[in-house]
Subunit: 313 residues, 2 copies
């Protein structure tokens, strides 16, 4: 894998995505080689044009001579478990460039685990020697924000015409962003969206949390590349702030990322063991039946399950 065997790398990434046992053993070996890449997270509602922007950024980093990895987090349907077309279609432009490695995570860990599988794939890309890794998440839910917040720089993407609703600022996305992008800048109301974002940022005091970094709001057009040079400039500006003062802010970010990864790994592991130990007659399905039939409440049952496996508190 370290010799660059793409098939071995692809297999490991698939194992991580599928939650196959054994992948953590390989990652233990790769971990010492990680931690050197620049990690950029991008998130926003469906339809704001994340893939197009990511695609453009890949080209710009390549033009600087940097190698790039892309992790697109894209949990598939909870029912079908099948693959999604989108990933195959996108980014064909870079398909023959060996300096670019694109991988999308389609499945979701059984008990959470999405943060740790994303970071697992990022670790593999770092060990492969990629200079820049773009982590793109679909959706603007809490999970998606958590994932991109494990990046060094978080970019939040929106479009005009969504920002006119008070809800657009919700879900804790505002203070998670280091850079804001208003894509599809030719749409009506782009200027107002920028102004609203700026007002909200000023109100929330988001900048204060970032010690000297005031999150910029940038207008872009993913289709023709307008605004992309400004976005690259903002990314470089944020990197400078992160690495200034002996990298104090970068270390703080990475500490936060490691904390989330550890929590996620522990949580996934503990649920797996717990449900394994309960056995069929006290297992999850038996508890479900008791709740649905009204014979017991979920609070008592979950406490009993915990006491059985972990002992009394």
């Amino acid at each position: 894998m370290l010799a660059g065997d793409v098939r071995a790398i692809a297999r490991l990434m698939r194992d991580i995505d599928d939650g196959q046992p054994g992948w953590t053993e390989v990652l233990k070996l790769l971990h010492p080689r990680a931690g050197r890449a620049r990690i950029i997270g991008l998130t926003g509602s469906p339809g704001v044009g994340k893939s197009t922007l990511t695609d453009d950024l890949v080209g710009r980093f390549r033009a600087q001579g940097l190698t790039v990895g892309v992790v697109a987090v894209d949990p598939t349907s909870p029912f079908s478990g099948g693959a999604i077309l989108g990933d195959r279609i996108r980014m064909q432009r870079h398909a023959t460039d060996e300096g670019v490695f694109i991988r999308s995570l389609a499945t979701r860990g059984h008990f959470g685990g999405l943060t740790s599988s994303t970071r697992g794939v990022v670790t593999v890309m770092e060990a492969m020697g990629k200079d820049v890794i773009l982590v793109e998440t679909v959706g603007v839910g809490q999970d998606e924000v958590e994932i991109v917040r494990t990046a060094d720089t978080t970019v939040i993407i929106t479009v005009p015409g969504l920002g006119d609703d008070i809800q657009a600022i919700k879900a804790g996305i505002l203070e998670a962003g280091d850079i804001f992008v208003v894509n599809k800048m030719d749409r009506e109301g782009a200027g107002r969206t920028v102004q609203e974002l700026k007002n909200m940022l000023a109100l929330s005091g988001g900048a204060k949390h970032r010690s000297g970094w005031e999150p910029p709001v940038i207008l872009t057009c993913g289709l023709d590349g307008r605004g992309l040079p400004e976005l690259m400039q903002a990314l470089d500006g944020h990197l400078q702030v992160l690495t200034a003062d002996e990298g104090r802010l970068l270390a703080q970010r990475r500490r936060e990322g490691a904390r989330r990864e550890l929590m996620d790994l522990i949580q996934a592991g503990v649920m797996e063991r717990l449900l394994g130990r309960l056995g069929p007659e006290q297992g999850l399905e038996a508890m479900v039946e008791q709740v649905v039939s009204g014979r017991a409440d979920p609070y008592t049952l979950s406490q009993q399950a915990l006491s059985k496996v972990l002992g009394q508190e």
Copy 2:
């Protein structure tokens, strides 16, 4: 509380939201009184007009003589932990109607727990005797979809101009929906969005999972109420399918909801105990430092933590 003491109810809901110890003890007592209300989940990207539609539905159910509870799931910023304005502003129309109880969940459980706190508040509203409970989640992430999927009927809301992107179908939202709404129907491209949704539903075979229920796609205008009668009709239609055949499908839905609630409660409880038992020198922060400094990898550390508390596998 059962006598209708609104202050006692509000205090319990706040405790649930804040994850205060003891709330599960009260819910144990209330649980036998739950399970009778009709629970409707609504989700969609920020800015699609969820609150306006919810507000309108409240009025329509009230006109039928039914009492209504609204739970708006709205995780606040991970940084500030502060409250959000939106909830105070919205739904002023029903502020003086005693048949309506609105509560927004602003915080997020420490270790997940958002599904169980939402269901906890739903349980309180059921025990209060509310006939219909609307659960509204902000965002379209995996978490938000998980929450509304614990409802009896799930409504997915979108607007024209988002559906033109292949990403709009992602994140597993398609097969989670029983009813699809294209709000802001006067916007350009509304017809195309409806057609695209219908095509995707046909392709995904989502209807098959619902045994005879074909998810309709409804055009609405939240501002003037167009399409809302059709939405009410679709909600009633779905209820009929759920309760047909001695409520076989409804029971299946509720089993799924109970499963998610149990998993969420167990997960939250186990993390709390685990981190409590590890003690400071092996605690989370010590692990974080080891990972960031490169002295250990997160995979080994999380396995060690699990073994310490749960014993060797």
